[in-house]
Symmetry: C2
Subunit: 102 residues, 2 copies
DNA sequence: AATCGTTACGTGATGCGTAACGATG
DNA sequence: CATCGTTACGCATCACGTAACGATT
C-alpha cells in the first residue's frame, strides 16, 4: 500500500492506456500559469480537482511533471517534454472538433 | 427536441470540447474491421457501448463517420479524414504513456 | 498569518452491460 | 431467418465539489 500504483487509466484491458484529455489540459494550462490555483480558475474548475488530476497523470506515466512549492509550480525537464506532446495532442483534438475534419 | 444536439463532450465551459480517446479508438478499430461487432470484440467491450460511443462522437463533430449497413460499416470520405487525425492522436497518446516522454 | 498545494469524504452524474428491438441481404 | 446495428433501462463506478489540513515564505 506504499508505492503501489493504482491503474486508474487502464480503461481497456492491455491495449494501450489513455490519459483523459482534460488532465492533459490541466497540465498544459498549469505550466502556462505556473500555478495550480490560477490554472483551475482559468479552466473553471476546482484546484482540488486539478491537483488530483495531475497527480493521477503523473502516477500513470511514472514521471513527475511539476515541481511543487508554496509559491506555485514549475515544470520539470521531463515535464517539458511531456507538455510538448500534450500540447500537440490537444491541438489536433481541437482541430478534430472544430473543423470536423482536417 | 428533434434535431437537437446534446453536448455530451463539453466538459469544460466553452474552451474547446474534447472527444474521449476511447471513442476515437472505437472509430479507428471499427474502420479497420469494417464492423462494429468485430471491433467491439477486439476491444473487449460491448457492441452497444461501441455503437453509442460512435454515435455520440458523430453528433459532437456533426459528421457522419460511418455508413451503416446490415453487412457492416464503411467509413465515409469525411470519416476517412477524421480517422487519419484520430490515429495520429492515439499514436501520440500511446507514446506519451509508453515512453513517459517523447 | 496568508497563500498555495494536498487530502478526505459524500454525492450526483454517467458510462457500461444486459436485454429487447429493427432492419437488411 | 440470420446477422448486424440500435435503443431502453438500471446499476455501479467515478469524477467532482465542499471542506479541513499542511507547509512555506
Amino acid at each position: 500500500m506504499a508505492d503501489e500504483q493504482d491503474h486508474r487509466y487502464l480503461s481497456l484491458r492491455d491495449q494501450s492506456a489513455t490519459i483523459p484529455l482534460q488532465h492533459l489540459r490541466y497540465a498544459v494550462v498549469s505550466a502556462e500559469y505556473g500555478s495550480f490555483r490560477r490554472a483551475a480558475e482559468a479552466l473553471l474548475t476546482q484546484q482540488s480537482t486539478l491537483s488530483r488530476g495531475i497527480r493521477e497523470l503523473e502516477e500513470s506515466i511514472g514521471v513527475i511533471v511539476f515541481e511543487r512549492s508554496s509559491g506555485g509550480v514549475c515544470a520539470t525537464s521531463a515535464g517539458r517534454d511531456f507538455l510538448r506532446t500534450a500540447r500537440s495532442i490537444l491541438e489536433q483534438m481541437d482541430a478534430l472538433v472544430t473543423y470536423s475534419q482536417v
